[in-house]
C-alpha cells in the first residue's frame, strides 16, 4: 500500500492535445452555425430594488439590432426552483450585475453599442453587501442545504479540554471572495427549430444543462440537445448552468430559428457565474505535552446570497482529519444582497484546510514539535466521528516521503533567522485531504464496430482534465484491446447520460461506468462479438459505500522568500506528494496536481475579489485588477504520488485528483512565510504590506 513508486511510463498523450494546440478543437462559441445573431446583456447597476422603466427607442434604431429583450417582452418560464435561471421574469433586482435584459444584433459591436443606449430607471432599495459576523445576517443552514454539509458536531467537552491542555491555539483566519476565471469564458450558442433547442455550451455536464433548461421552457428533455466537446476550464463555475444560458435560449425564441451567440466578458464573469464565498474561520486546538490533540474546534462563517442560497462546509475539514477526543465543528452562513456563490475547486476544503493546517502549524510552533511529526502523532486509526475504517489512508507515507525528498530534516525550526541578501527564507508544510466521491447514474454504450475496433459512448464532459484520455485507457484495458482500438465519444447529450464533471469524481464515476458497461457487453456478446454488437449499461451501487471513510490525502512542502524591505513574497520551490488511489494516466494526472498546486500558489499570494459594499460589486473585476499567478510567480513545482491500491472506493480504484492539489497549498505557503519572517499572517492573500515592518 505504501512506499513511493514512480510510474515507469508517462501514459498516453492527451488524445485531443494536437487539436487543441493547433487550434482546431472547437469550443462552444467557435462552433460554426449558419446566420448567427449576437447577444449583449443588460445588467443591473444597483444592488437591490426594481426596474421602473426601460426606454429601448434609441437602441432599437441602431443598425442591425433585431431584438431588445426585457422583462416586459420576455416569455414566462416555468419556475423550477433555481432563481439564477428565472431571468427576466420580474422587475426585481437582487444583486448588482443581475441580468435584466439583452440586445440581439447582427454583430457583437452593434449589440454592445445598442445596449449602451438602453435607458433604464430604477427604484433603489437599501442593500447589504458587507460580509461580517452579525446576528442580522447570520444563520445556521439546514442540513440538506448541500450534500456536503453536516449538522453541527459536538463531541466531548471542548472547553474543558482546552482549559487543561498543555498547548493551545486560538486563531481566526479569513479567506476572501475568489473567482474561477477559467481560460475559456462561459459561452453558449442557442438555436430553436421544429425539433427543439440546440445549445453549444461550455459546461461541466451537458446532461445536467439539458435536465434544467428543458423543464424551464416546458419542453421534453429529448427536445433539447447540449453539445460540449471541448471545455477550456471551469473549476466549478460551469457546474450548474447560470442565467446567461437561460437568457440566450430565451432570446433565441424571438429570432425565427437564427442561432444566438453569447460569450461572457471577463467583467461579466465576476457577476454572473458564481465565486468562492469569503470565509471567517475560528480554530481552537488543544494538545497535551506530546502534541496529541485533546480538543479541536472549527467554526466557519461563509457568505451566501439572499437571492439563492449556497451553503459551503469549510469547517467540516476538521471532522475527519486528525484524532481528537473532544471536537466541535460548526458552519454558519451570512446572507447578503450579492450574486450567488458556487463551487470553486475544492469548495469547503480549500478554505477549511487553509485554516486547520495553519492552526496545526501554530500548534507545532507553540509546542516546539516539528510540524511533520505533529501531524504523524495525530494520525487516527479509524475515521473520527463516524468510527468507520478508512478505505485507505496514506497521509503518513505522503508526509514521510515528502519530508525526505524536500530535505525537511535539515530544517532549523526557528522563525525569521535565515537571510539570503534582501530575502528572508523559510519552509513550511501542510496536509491535504479531499473526499473520494462517486456520482451514480451514468451509462455507457459499448459497440463493436468491426475488426476488433470499439466505439465507446458516454455523455461526460472533458473540462480539460484529460477525461477523454483516461476513459479511453480504462475502456481499452477492460476490453483487453490496445488504446488505438477504442474510439471514445463524449461531450454531448447525444451520448448516454453521465454525471457532472465535478467533485473530482469524473474518472471514478465514468471510469467505473465504462468498465461495468464493458463487463455487461462481454456477458451479452462474449469475447468474439459480431460487428454492431452493442450494450448500454452503468455501474451498480458500491457495496462498500457507507462502510468505509474514503478520502485522498497529500502533503505539501513550500519554500518561501519574503523581501525584508518590501514584503514581496515569492515561492521558489514546492513539492506535493499525494495518495489518491489508482493513477490512470500519469501524464494528465501530473498536470492536474500541478494545476491544483499552481492555483493554490495563486490563492495564497494573489487571488482576492475586492467587494465595495457601497455598490455591492467586485471592484477589481478584470484580469488586470484580479491577479492570478503568472509564470514568474511559480518556481519549481514537483509532484509525485504514493502507489495506492484501494479495493473499496469504486471498481477502478480511482480516488479523484482534480481538486486535492489546491488543498493545503496556501497553508504550506503561509506556514513557510511565518518560518521565513516570524510574522503570522492569517488573512489571505499574502500581499506584501502584511509583511512590512
Amino acid at each position: 500500500m505504501t512506499g513511493a513508486t514512480r510510474a515507469t511510463s508517462p501514459g498516453p498523450e492527451r488524445i485531443e492535445g494536437h487539436a487543441k494546440v493547433t487550434g482546431t478543437a472547437r469550443y462552444a462559441f467557435e462552433h460554426p452555425v449558419a446566420d448567427p445573431l449576437y447577444l449583449h446583456p443588460l445588467r443591473a447597476t444597483i444592488a437591490r430594488g426594481r426596474v421602473t422603466s426601460v426606454d429601448t427607442t434609441a437602441a432599437e434604431r441602431v443598425d442591425g439590432v433585431r431584438l431588445v429583450l426585457t422583462h416586459h417582452n420576455a416569455e414566462a418560464l416555468v419556475p423550477i426552483g433555481d432563481p439564477e435561471l428565472a431571468v427576466l421574469q420580474s422587475d426585481e433586482i437582487a444583486f448588482r450585475g443581475q441580468l435584466i435584459g439583452a440586445v440581439v444584433a447582427e454583430t457583437q459591436e452593434s449589440a454592445a453599442h445598442a445596449a449602451d443606449l438602453v435607458e433604464i430607471r430604477y427604484e433603489r432599495m437599501a442593500h447589504d453587501s458587507d460580509f461580517r459576523d452579525d446576528a442580522d445576517i447570520v444563520y445556521t443552514p439546514d442540513a440538506d442545504a448541500s450534500p456536503m454539509l453536516s449538522p453541527d458536531l459536538e463531541e466531548g467537552d471542548v472547553d474543558a479540554a482546552l482549559a487543561d491542555a498543555a498547548f493551545t491555539v486560538d486563531a481566526t483566519y479569513t479567506t476572501p471572495t475568489e473567482h474561477h476565471n477559467p481560460l475559456e469564458p462561459h459561452a453558449v450558442i442557442a438555436a430553436w427549430d421544429d425539433d427543439g433547442l440546440t445549445l453549444h455550451d461550455s459546461n461541466q455536464g451537458s446532461h445536467l444543462v439539458r435536465d434544467l433548461i428543458a423543464p424551464l421552457f416546458g419542453v421534453d428533455k429529448e427536445r433539447v440537445s447540449v453539445i460540449s466537446p471541448h471545455v477550456g476550464g471551469a473549476f466549478g463555475s460551469k457546474g450548474m448552468p447560470h442565467g446567461h444560458v437561460a437568457l440566450t435560449a430565451l432570446a433565441a425564441r424571438h429570432t425565427a430559428g437564427r442561432p444566438v451567440k453569447y460569450a461572457l466578458s471577463r467583467t461579466q464573469m465576476f457577476e454572473l457565474v458564481g465565486y468562492r464565498p469569503p470565509t471567517r474561520q475560528r480554530v481552537r486546538l488543544g494538545a497535551d505535552r506530546e502534541g496529541r490533540l485533546v480538543a479541536t474546534e472549527h467554526d466557519s462563517l461563509e457568505q451566501t446570497s439572499r437571492f439563492k442560497q449556497y451553503a459551503e462546509q469549510s469547517a467540516s475539514a476538521s471532522r475527519e482529519m486528525y484524532t481528537s477526543p473532544n471536537r466541535r465543528v460548526t458552519n454558519r452562513l451570512a446572507a447578503l444582497d450579492v450574486p450567488a456563490p458556487t463551487w470553486m475547486r475544492a469548495p469547503g476544503e480549500a478554505g477549511g484546510m487553509y485554516a486547520l493546517e495553519s492552526a496545526m502549524d501554530e500548534l507545532a510552533v507553540s509546542a516546539g514539535i516539528d510540524p511533520v511529526e505533529l501531524r504523524l502523532r495525530n494520525e487516527p486509526e479509524v475515521a473520527p466521528v463516524s468510527g468507520l475504517p478508512f478505505s485507505s489512508r496514506n497521509l503518513p507515507a505522503c508526509l514521510r516521503e515528502g519530508a525526505e525528498r524536500f530535505g525537511w530534516h535539515e530544517r532549523d525550526p526557528r522563525p525569521g533567522v535565515r537571510r539570503e541578501g534582501d530575502w528572508l527564507v523559510g519552509t513550511g508544510v501542510a496536509a491535504s485531504s479531499f473526499p473520494s466521491l462517486f456520482f451514480p447514474g451514468s451509462l455507457a454504450t459499448i459497440r463493436h464496430e468491426s475488426g476488433g475496433k470499439y466505439r465507446v459512448e458516454i455523455g461526460a464532459v472533458d473540462i480539460g482534465t484529460g477525461s477523454r484520455t483516461a476513459l479511453t485507457q480504462l475502456a481499452a484495458e477492460a476490453l483487453e484491446v490496445p488504446v488505438e482500438a477504442v474510439e471514445l465519444w463524449l461531450g454531448s447529450t447525444e451520448q448516454p447520460h453521465a454525471s457532472l464533471a465535478g467533485g473530482s469524481a469524473g474518472t471514478a464515476s465514468w471510469g467505473s461506468t465504462v468498465v461495468e458497461a464493458v463487463r455487461a457487453f462481454r456477458t451479452e456478446h462474449g469475447h468474439d462479438p459480431v460487428s454492431g454488437a452493442e450494450t448500454t449499461a452503468g455501474a451498480g451501487k458500491n457495496p462498500d459505500a457507507g462502510e468505509y471513510a474514503m478520502h485522498s490525502y497529500g502533503a505539501q512542502f513550500a519554500e518561501v522568500r519574503v523581501n525584508a524591505d518590501t514584503g514581496e513574497v515569492r515561492v521558489p520551490r514546492m513539492l506535493g506528494v499525494f495518495a489518491a488511489g489508482r493513477i490512470v494516466n500519469p501524464r494528465t494526472a501530473r498536470s492536474q496536481f500541478l494545476g491544483g498546486m499552481t492555483m493554490g500558489i495563486s490563492m495564497a499570494l494573489h487571488e482576492h475579489s475586492v467587494v465595495d459594499e457601497r455598490f455591492g460589486h467586485v471592484v477589481n473585476h478584470d484580469l488586470a485588477g484580479y491577479h492570478i499567478a503568472g509564470n514568474a510567480d511559480v518556481g519549481s513545482v514537483e509532484v509525485d504520488w504514493i502507489d495506492e491500491h484501494d479495493p473499496h472506493v469504486n471498481p477502478v480504484g480511482v480516488k479523484g485528483i482534480g481538486e486535492i492539489g489546491i488543498v493545503g497549498t496556501a497553508a504550506a505557503i503561509g506556514n513557510a512565510a511565518h518560518h521565513a519572517t516570524g510574522v503570522r499572517v492569517r488573512d489571505l492573500p499574502l500581499t506584501p504590506e502584511k509583511f512590512l515592518r
Partner: protein, 330 residues
C-alpha cells in the same frame, strides 16, 4: 463601444489638422490604453487618427550628447536599444518591468507617457468619478484605494499614474517635444503630467491637437549607474504598488549628485526633490537614505487601504540607494 471613424496619417501636419479641427478626434498609437478605454465606454472618440506610420520610430544620439527617442518607438524596441541599456539602464529596466511582452511590443513611447491615470472606479462607468464626469464625486476616496495616491492628491481625485517608463524619464530630466496647431514647444517631462487639483479630468498640460513627436534625454553621465525598482503584488504583469527610479553620482563616499523619481504614489510621476536635496553632498549612509525618504514622504497623506505605501517607499528607496552606492564604491 461607440462607432468611430479611422484615418491613418501620412505626415505630422495632416495628423495635427485632422485632430485639432475635430473636438471628438484622438490620436492613436499602439492603442494599448485608448482601445481599452473605448471598450469600457470611458473614451468615446468620434475619429481616430493613426500616427504609427509617422517618421518618429527611431532613437538618435545627438552631437551634444543628448538622445532623442521618437514618439512611435515601441517600448520593447526602446528597452533593447544599446544606447539606452548602456547610458540609461534605469529607463530600460523601467520599460521591461511594465505590462507584458505583448503590450510592450505595441505600446509607443508617446502613448506610454500619455496613459491616463489608473483607478478601478474611473474604469467603471457605473460608479461616480470626477475624472470621468466632473462633479460626480470620487468613489475611491472612501472606497477601495489600496493602489491610490499618497502624495499630491486632492479631494477630487486620488488616482495614480501607471507608467513605469515615465517615472524613469522624470528621474532623468527628460524633455517632451510637442507639435501642435500653434507650432512646436518643449515640455519637461516633470511638467507634462498634472496633479489633480480641481480639474482631475485633465491628466496633462497638452492641449487638444498637440502631438508628442519625441522625448529627449539629457547627457547625464552618472545615469549609467542607475536603477529602477518596482514593487508589485506579483512578479510580472502588475502595476507598481510603489516604484523608485534613481541615479547616483558618488565621489569618495559622498553623494555629489542624484536623481530620484517615485511611481505609484501620485497622479503623476513624482520627482523626489526633497529627498534629492537631503542626499546631495551627504555621506552615503543608511541614516542619510532614511532621512532623505522621510523628507520626501513628510507630505504623504494616506487613505484607508494605502498606508503601507509610506513604509514601503521608505524601505525601497533606501534599498535602491544602498545598492547604487555599493555599486559605485566597489
Amino acid at each position: 463601444m461607440k462607432p468611430f471613424d479611422y484615418q491613418r496619417a501620412t505626415d505630422a501636419d495632416s495628423a495635427i489638422s485632422l485632430v485639432s479641427g475635430d473636438p471628438e478626434a484622438r490620436y492613436i498609437g499602439g492603442g494599448t490604453n485608448l482601445v481599452d478605454h473605448m471598450k469600457l465606454g470611458i473614451a468615446e472618440p468620434g475619429k481616430l487618427v493613426d500616427i504609427t506610420r509617422l517618421p518618429y520610430d527611431s532613437v538618435e544620439s545627438l552631437p551634444d550628447g543628448r538622445v532623442r527617442i521618437g514618439a512611435t518607438v515601441r517600448n520593447s524596441d526602446l528597452a533593447a536599444e544599446p544606447v539606452i541599456r548602456q547610458r540609461y539602464p534605469v529607463l530600460a529596466q523601467a520599460l521591461l518591468s511594465g505590462a507584458s511582452g505583448q503590450l510592450r511590443n505595441l505600446a509607443t513611447t508617446g502613448g506610454n507617457l500619455l496613459q491616463r491615470t489608473r483607478c478601478s472606479y474611473f474604469q467603471d462607468v457605473t460608479t461616480p468619478c470626477n475624472k470621468r464626469e466632473p462633479g460626480s464625486g470620487c468613489s475611491a476616496l472612501e472606497g477601495w484605494n489600496r493602489h491610490h495616491a499618497v502624495l499630491g492628491a486632492s479631494e477630487r481625485c486620488v488616482a495614480t499614474h501607471p507608467s513605469d517608463m515615465a517615472v524613469a524619464l522624470a528621474a532623468l530630466d527628460a524633455d517632451v517635444l510637442v507639435e501642435g496647431p500653434d507650432g512646436q514647444r518643449t515640455v519637461p517631462v516633470t511638467e507634462l503630467h498634472r496633479l489633480p487639483g480641481d480639474e482631475p479630468e485633465r491628466d496633462t498640460v497638452l492641449r487638444h491637437g498637440e502631438l508628442v513627436t519625441a522625448v529627449e534625454l539629457p547627457s547625464l553621465p552618472f545615469a549609467s549607474r542607475s536603477r529602477y525598482r518596482k514593487v508589485r503584488d506579483r512578479a510580472s504583469f502588475a502595476f507598481a504598488l510603489v516604484s523608485v527610479a534613481a541615479a547616483v553620482e558618488l565621489v569618495e563616499g559622498t553623494i555629489t549628485d542624484v536623481r530620484i523619481a517615485l511611481g505609484g504614489l501620485a497622479h503623476k510621476p513624482w520627482r523626489a526633490t526633497e529627498a534629492e536635496r537631503v542626499l546631495r553632498g551627504a555621506p552615503a549612509t543608511e541614516e542619510t537614505f532614511r532621512a532623505a525618504a522621510d523628507a520626501e514622504l513628510a507630505a504623504a497623506r494616506t487613505l484607508r487601504d494605502n498606508e503601507f505605501k509610506v513604509p514601503m517607499t521608505r524601505n525601497t528607496l533606501a534599498s535602491v540607494l544602498r545598492e547604487l552606492t555599493r555599486q559605485e564604491g566597489s
